[in-house]
């Protein structure tokens, strides 16, 4: 196979689109926290981007996509990108018409946005140095192996588990990690006692706009080609996002007023849900996947609030549960006419079982290992800011800055 300039052009552009999602998460989350923590929330996203950009090149890519070791992890033979060049990328034995280095870069922006999503669980109370260590450990120990399992030649990919653009690798993992961290780090002081309101809704909406925008690259770029698969992925992605938005709006309207944050949360829920399915389902299936995603994630958020969990910005409800639903839904709605694989509704029970396996394996791995990592960081250098730092706000206490 040769480099195709059209495919390369699209993946270059898609990489830029996905890149903007990491600050996009920062702005989305930044708008949801109180004014005293806005800068910190955005800074965490930038920091995640910078840290993981380096981790990925030095180590992460090799762990995820280096030659398989026992179905579990990539070998260290590609550390520092040794052996990766401008020839067509070969991933888990399949050759793609884009340069190997471009595939590295495209995957890099997925790794960065994942840890950015995780910051939901430690919002408004994290100690900067603790976050830095956590981010590096988490990506290395949780994210990189999961990417390997599904995409890098690991056991789940071999089993045939479908995850087109990261429903499990990115969303289940980050959502359940956020939950685990929230449990370890504890509630924000005042949570449950007085109401903690979003400090800058327009900024959150800007973040959401960047996420939706970037999602076009996220899912359609994952085709690694400029062809019908990419076109279908683009269309089903947008459809699921739109349906999620409308469904969340409706269910929240029934219970009160239709908040703008509900509309965009529903959109994100729909986009998340269709992520693993984007290369395998039809537009009409995407409506179901996105719509159920919107409704389910809304209910999960309400459940989380009722239970008094301070997984503060709902990465668990939206990314974790939306991703879980999406991976299962891929096993249900996959259509061979679209992406060569049939799911449950076309009679392929096997695909459904395999996808459920992948989904729950990811839930367990991400949740348990994150608990351990967060606990260790907490007990060593510390993960939580002091009471006074939290009261003053992280902008001033961690960065010396003020909105």
């Amino acid at each position: 196979m040769m480099i195709d300039t059209g495919a390369t052009a699209w993946v270059l552009a898609a990489t830029a689109l996905v890149m903007i999602m990491t600050p996009g998460v920062g702005f989305f989350y930044g708008g949801l926290v109180r004014k005293k923590n806005v800068i910190n929330m955005i800074a965490l996203a930038f920091l995640a981007f910078a840290l993981i950009s380096i981790q990925w090149i030095l180590l992460g890519y090799s762990l995820a996509f280096g030659p398989d070791v026992g179905g579990i992890i990539g070998s260290l033979s590609n550390i520092g990108l040794s052996g990766i060049g401008v020839n067509p990328a070969v991933i888990a034995g399949t050759e793609y018409p884009i340069p190997g280095l471009l595939y590295v870069m495209f995957q890099l922006v997925f790794a960065t946005v994942t840890i950015a999503i995780v910051t939901s669980g430690l919002a408004e109370r994290v100690k900067l140095s603790g976050f830095i260590i956590l981010a590096l450990l988490w990506t290395t120990i949780v994210y990189d192996p999961l990417a390997h399992w599904f995409w890098g030649g690991g056991w789940l990919g071999t089993l045939g588990c479908l995850d087109f653009a990261g429903g499990a690798v990115i969303h289940i993992s980050s959502g359940f990690a956020a939950l685990a961290i929230a449990i370890v780090i504890g509630k924000r002081s005042g949570f449950g006692e007085y109401s903690i309101e979003p400090g800058n809704i327009p900024m959150a909406l800007l973040g959401a706009a960047l996420l939706w925008f970037g999602y076009f690259g996220f899912n359609a770029g994952s085709a690694l080609a400029a062809n019908g698969v990419a076109a279908n992925a683009l269309l089903v992605t947008n459809t699921a996002g739109a349906t999620g938005a409308i469904v969340w709006m409706i269910v929240s309207w029934i219970n009160g007023k239709p908040a703008s944050l509900g509309i965009v949360s529903g959109a994100i829920a729909g986009l998340v849900a269709v992520t693993p399915a984007a290369g395998y389902v039809t537009p009409l299936s995407a409506m179901v996947i996105g719509g159920v995603g919107g409704g389910l994630c809304y209910m999960m958020m309400m459940f989380r609030i009722k239970k008094g969990f301070d997984e503060s910005l709902d990465a668990w409800a939206i990314h974790g549960m939306g991703g879980l639903w999406g991976v299962i839904a891929t096993g249900i709605f996959a259509s061979a006419a679209v992406g060569g694989k049939n799911g449950l509704i076309y009679g392929n029970v096997q695909q459904f079982i395999v996808n459920c396996t992948g989904a729950f394996a990811t839930v367990i791995y991400a949740f348990v290992i994150t608990l351990v990592i967060a606990f260790i960081v907490q007990k060593t250098i510390g993960l939580r800011a002091s009471e006074n730092e939290e009261y003053i706000g992280l902008d001033l206490s961690q960065h010396g800055e003020r909105v």
Binding site: K36, E193, Y194, S195, S386, N388, E389, Y391, I392, S397
Partner: protein, 109 residues
């Protein structure tokens, strides 16, 4: 008539407002302010250095009440605003000579 100026922690504002409502005290004007008390603010430690944060966001509630209502109002605010920690706030009482309703032009009391 007195003007009660209560400078309290923002996180206690809802509670104060609710407590006042329960006693049928509705009229109030609120301002977002920043303040420093006699404690000079909070000191944060970092890597051997330290930093005083001395202008901390507060809510100022201005209530004009009849003389006979001053004590009860003070009482309510103090109870609802108190956390027992530094920065709980201050209440000042200032005399008011006249009070007028714009809509009706009537001079109150």
């Amino acid at each position: 008539m007195k003007l009660i100026k209560a400078i309290i922690k923002p996180e206690r504002f809802e509670k104060v407002k609710k407590s006042l409502e329960e006693k049928n005290i509705f009229g109030m004007t609120i301002t977002e302010v920043k303040g420093r008390g006699e404690q000079k603010g909070l000191t944060l430690q970092y890597r051997g250095g330290s930093m005083i944060v001395d202008l901390i966001p507060k809510i100022e509630i201005d209530l004009v009440v009849e003389d006979s209502n001053v004590d009860i109002t003070l009482q309510i605010i103090m109870e609802a605003a108190e956390t027992g920690k530094i920065g709980d706030g201050r209440i000042f009482v200032v005399p008011v000579e006249r009070s007028i309703k714009v809509r009706t032009g009537e001079e109150v009391k």
